[in-house]
């Protein structure tokens, strides 16, 4: 199952909710303002690292670049472009968008 998060981890608790509820073995894709969660040194780093123990974590590269943080992505987070985004959606039969 693929979980998509688009809200910043600092102003919205969707990342916490998702990581609490999502079953391990699934995938999490961070897009739009949620990509800040994938950056080193941020207060969300430990949550993402913890999540990576049981899930695959992806982040949308163009959104990281747009926000000037593409050079500080946490090791182990997989970057995808728009085509990769489509592949993830196609590969996963179920999808939850944490709006």
């Amino acid at each position: 199952m693929l979980h998509i998060i688009n809200k910043s981890p600092f102003e919205n608790s969707t990342l916490d909710s998702c990581l609490r509820i999502a079953k391990s073995g699934g995938a999490v894709l961070l897009i739009e303002d949620a990509v800040f969660a994938a950056t080193k040194g941020s207060a969300a780093e430990s949550k993402i690292k913890q999540a990576m123990a049981g899930m695959k974590v992806y982040a949308l590269q163009p959104d990281l670049a747009a926000r000037g943080v593409a050079d500080r992505v946490i090791d182990g987070v997989t970057l995808v472009d728009y085509a990769g985004f489509v592949d993830l959606v196609a590969e996963n039969p179920k999808l939850q968008s944490w709006l």
């Binding site: 102003e11 800040f36 950056t39 941020s42 207060a43």
Partner: protein, 130 residues
């Protein structure tokens, strides 16, 4: 131009603080806030900008929006000085929570603690939030 002169004759200068709390490209708040600030410069008021929470990301160096097809307005913050808007405050706690330091920012700012920023906010005549 006429309106500017009228304001000067009025002679009322108020302290305006624009509080920026949103990351730049996920929503329209940051850009709208910046445009309002630029327009406010025409009225010769005492304008200051505060950046806290995700608003600190508005000032992050190295933004490149080509891949998401929206305007990169981050260079415009560097134009504020030319508009005589020189009071830029950034909350220290918000920077730290995001793994950022003053060196990551594209303009000179004054870094304040939450308490200091709160005190400054309290001194304003008008606080406008984006």
């Amino acid at each position: 131009m006429m309106d500017e002169m009228d304001m000067e004759e009025g002679g009322v200068v108020k302290k305006f603080m624009f509080v920026n709390r949103k990351a730049p490209h996920g929503t329209i708040y940051a850009l709208e806030g910046l445009e309002v600030v630029l327009i406010s410069a025409a009225f010769d008021q005492d304008v200051s900008l505060a950046f806290c929470d995700d608003g600190v990301y508005e000032l992050k160096k190295g933004q490149d929006t080509k891949g998401i097809g929206v305007k990169n307005f981050s260079p415009t913050y560097r134009a504020l000085e030319g508009y005589d808007i020189e009071k830029l405050y950034v909350e220290k706690e918000s920077l730290e929570a995001r793994g950022l330091t003053e060196d990551d920012l594209l303009v000179d700012v004054q870094v304040l603690s939450s308490a200091e920023l709160g005190a400054l906010m309290d001194e304003q005549d008008v606080v406008i939030s984006f």
